[in-house]
């Protein structure tokens, strides 16, 4: 049974329609990757699920409950936390305060506490009293992930956590994901780096122009299939 599911999800910004009937499912404990080119609608999908954008109630189901029309705080309190694109840390708050505020709307005992997040990302403990914006990009991303975990979510949505970061830093950040999976949480990551997405996810959805163009288990997808779904053209051996 799917824990989280979208059914014919549509979304628009004013007159501009960004999603055209997106269907995805996320099982309990599963890690899903959403890939797709710039403007494919990945962030719009994340914003819809997390309640930043309002949708038709039955277009998003969580534990079979229609949650499409709920606001962000109601989504969080049900156990779906978001690590937004661009990190979006609060500049007026220190590193530790940024983490603490992650559980403002959902105080649930579980594996994630300030201490266990400091154990996951030790550098944050050293910098705990710094303003969040005084950190490097990679460290800020760690704060953003930690902030999402503080509510002990059942589903963690991560939008482009490797954006603008050096490959070694991306590797360090993805090194934390096995520990997150171990807690039994479901994870949805949006990732432009296809190799990284295939490595971390059980299943992959590829989006193009507001639609899902390809889906399957990471191990079953061929490079050609992905290339075609990603760009809408045949693979012409570019690299």
């Amino acid at each position: 049974m799917a824990l989280l599911e979208t059914r014919g999800l549509t979304a628009a910004y004013g007159d501009f329609q960004a999603l055209f009937g997106v269907d995805i499912t996320v099982g309990a404990g599963e890690t899903i990757a959403i890939i797709g080119a710039n403007g494919a609608g990945k962030t719009t999908l994340m914003r819809s699920i997390s309640g930043v954008l309002a949708n038709a109630p039955a277009s998003i189901l969580y534990r079979d409950e229609p949650i499409g029309a709920l606001l962000a705080p109601d989504i969080l309190s049900r156990g779906i936390a978001m690590v937004p694109e661009g990190r979006k840390l609060f500049p007026s708050l220190s590193v530790e305060e940024n983490l603490q505020i992650g559980k403002y709307g959902r105080k649930v005992d579980g594996p994630w506490t300030l201490d266990s997040i400091f154990a996951l990302f030790p550098i944050l403990k050293e910098r705990r009293n710094n303003p969040a914006t005084a950190l490097s990009g990679g460290q800020q991303q760690m704060v953003a992930i930690g902030r999402g975990l503080m509510s002990n979510p059942e589903v963690l949505l991560c939008d482009e956590i490797s954006l603008g970061l050096a490959p070694v830093v991306v590797r360090d950040i993805y090194a934390a994901f096995p520990s997150i999976r171990e807690t039994g949480a479901s994870i949805v990551i949006v990732e432009q780096d296809i190799a990284q997405a295939l490595k971390v996810a059980d299943r992959v959805y590829c989006m193009m122009e507001g639609r899902v163009t390809l889906t399957g288990r990471s191990s079953d997808l061929s490079r050609d299939d992905i290339h075609k779904a990603y760009f809408g053209t045949e693979h012409h051996e570019l690299a």
């Binding site: 309640g51 930043v52 606001l71 705080p73 978001m82 708050l93 305060e97 505020i101 509510s151």
Partner: protein, 220 residues
């Protein structure tokens, strides 16, 4: 020691202005809303205290304690049901609405209390004073000053040391992301305005016992 005296009176009077400003800046700091009716809210609170003192025969300090939760509720409701609707990218709507509110409060008070100037009497405290070495200071100005310091220290602790204070700052930084943390910006704003009205009540207590006021004193 006339000049020392003058400086001291000036500093103590500064306490009253600090109280006026604290509520205003709390609201501005969190939601970038300039409340043009702030002065009128102070006068409204002063009339509320006056009514409690004259009809129930209460001590003005007790009256202010009773007025505080009432003013909190008024501020909360005002923000939640009216001012929140005016907030957005454009700064003009809140200016227009609070300007209108200022007129509504002034005329409402004129209708109910006439244009006569009033005063809240604090009894013997009004003329009491203490000798501080070469100078003397009135008890009321001293209390005003220390109330202002206390209010500012308390607000500071609230904003920098509590979970609600974190939510205030986060909402002021980025209300959309604050929503993802489970913060409801509309309620945070309402709470901030409610708190500002508590500070307003304290300011009104000292304004009303220090000088005459009438329904149109707000803007000045």
């Amino acid at each position: 020691m006339n000049w020392l005296d003058t400086i001291l009176q000036g500093v103590l009077l500064g306490g009253l202005y600090a109280l006026f400003a604290a509520g205003l800046s709390l609201v501005f700091g969190i939601m970038r809303l300039v409340n043009l009716a702030h002065g009128d809210m102070i006068v409204l609170a002063a009339f509320l205290i006056l009514v409690l003192v004259t009809t129930l025969g209460l001590n003005p300090f007790i009256a202010a304690l009773i007025a505080m939760p009432l003013m909190f509720a008024i501020g909360w409701a005002l923000q939640y049901f009216l001012l929140n609707r005016t907030l957005g990218k454009d700064i003009l709507p809140p200016l227009l609405v609070t300007f209108g509110l200022s007129i509504v409060i002034q005329n409402g008070l004129l209708e109910s209390f006439s244009a006569d100037s009033r005063r809240v009497f604090a009894g013997s405290l009004e003329s009491a004073s203490v000798n501080l070495g070469p100078v003397t200071a009135g008890i009321m100005p001293l209390m005003t000053f220390f109330s202002a310091v206390t209010v500012i220290v308390c607000l500071n602790q609230l904003i920098y040391r509590t979970s609600v204070g974190r939510a205030f700052r986060a909402t002021s930084d980025d209300p959309v992301t604050a929503g993802l943390m489970g913060i409801r910006p509309q309620r945070i704003f309402a709470m901030a305005t409610g708190l500002a009205m508590v500070v307003v009540t304290i300011a009104a207590l000292y304004l009303g016992t220090r000088a005459n006021f009438d329904p149109t004193s707000g803007p000045s």
